[in-house]
């Protein structure tokens, strides 16, 4: 630590980026599986399958997440200026927006989907009623939808917790570089959503 020279990347930054790369590969596994399942069954993302998704709500949610990323960048800017109060308030905005995203997802979108009869195991229900029907294959879309949005939501929860604890830790003006690291993790959530949103909502 005393011997960190200039050409060596600071360890916190390198660690967070390796973590992000690892997470990208995990999400990549889901995304690759979805793309391949779709290629195999073109009817997979058809209107009958994904038509019950509310694109307007999805778009609004996307924009909310986007703004939360903007507030996080502002928090980082404030941290660079050593302005603790400003950084903290922007982090609170980020948390509020993140929870709003999660609230819309879990409080509105998922219940609406459930009310249309779509659950993570809806293919099972259809298979019980009408074995061998084509609808069954289509309904796998919902398994992927709940799997991926759920996993993404989990990362929002983790990211929020990280931001929360970093926020508690910077009160005295120390550890300000952590704001950026927490921010990088938070941007990962946006990075994944940028792919998930068109993949699940738009390409039908």
């Amino acid at each position: 630590m005393s011997d960190v020279t200039i050409e060596r990347v600071p360890k916190g930054r390198l660690g967070v980026w390796l973590l992000i790369a690892g997470e990208i590969v995990i999400f990549g596994g889901f995304i690759a599986s979805y793309i391949l399942a779709r290629l195999e069954y073109p009817e997979f993302g058809s209107k009958e399958a994904a038509g019950d998704l509310n694109i307007v709500v999805g778009t609004v949610n996307t924009l909310i997440l986007l703004i939360s990323n903007w507030t996080m960048v502002k928090a980082h800017e404030a941290a660079l200026e050593k302005n603790v109060a400003k950084a903290k308030s922007f982090m609170i905005y980020t948390l509020v927006l993140g929870l709003l995203f999660l609230g819309i997802k879990l409080g509105y979108e998922w219940p609406t989907d459930f009310s249309h009869g779509h659950t993570i195991s809806s293919s099972k229900a259809i298979a019980d009623q009408a074995p061998g029907s084509e609808v069954m294959k289509v309904s796998l879309f919902w398994s992927y939808y709940f799997l991926m949005t759920g996993f993404h939501g989990l990362h929002i929860v983790v990211g929020s917790l990280v931001i929360f604890f970093v926020m508690l830790g910077i009160s005295g003006g120390q550890n300000l570089h952590r704001v950026e690291l927490a921010g990088a993790y938070w941007h990962l959530v946006e990075l994944v959503w940028v792919i998930l949103f068109p993949m699940l909502y738009l390409i039908q």
């Binding site: 990347v9 916190g12 992000i20 690892g22 391949l36 903007w70 570089h177 940028v194 738009l202 390409i203």
Partner: protein
């Protein structure tokens, strides 16, 4: 601590936010007007641009040292390898007219 070393340039984040928001709206617009494979291609292209902007500008990858850039892009490269390695299998199933024989009887 060397942690404090600054790796940043000034960026206009409001404009960045605007660009991504416009791209999102454009994607939704394309989704409701276009059809078929051109729609899929257009949306994929816009998503790729967004992915690049988020990674490069929002996550400051363009200011990071080469090592971190390498790490970030390697993860994307390996996923692309995975998709291209698996895709022929799933696509070829559709080429088999009967759907029963699997792959064995198809002329390569």
């Amino acid at each position: 601590m060397a942690e404090e070393k600054d790796y940043h340039g000034k960026q206009n984040y409001v404009m960045l936010l605007g660009v991504i928001a416009v791209l999102v709206i454009a994607m939704v617009g394309i989704a409701s007007t276009m059809t078929g494979s051109s729609k899929v291609l257009a949306i994929s292209a816009l998503a790729a641009i967004q992915f690049y902007v988020v990674l490069n500008n929002l996550m400051h990858l363009k200011y990071e040292p080469a090592l971190i850039t390498l790490v970030a892009y390697l993860s994307v490269v390996f996923i692309v390898i995975l998709i291209f390695g698996v895709a022929p299998d799933t696509l070829l199933v559709n080429l088999d007219p009967s759907g029963q024989n699997g792959l064995v009887f198809i002329e390569p």
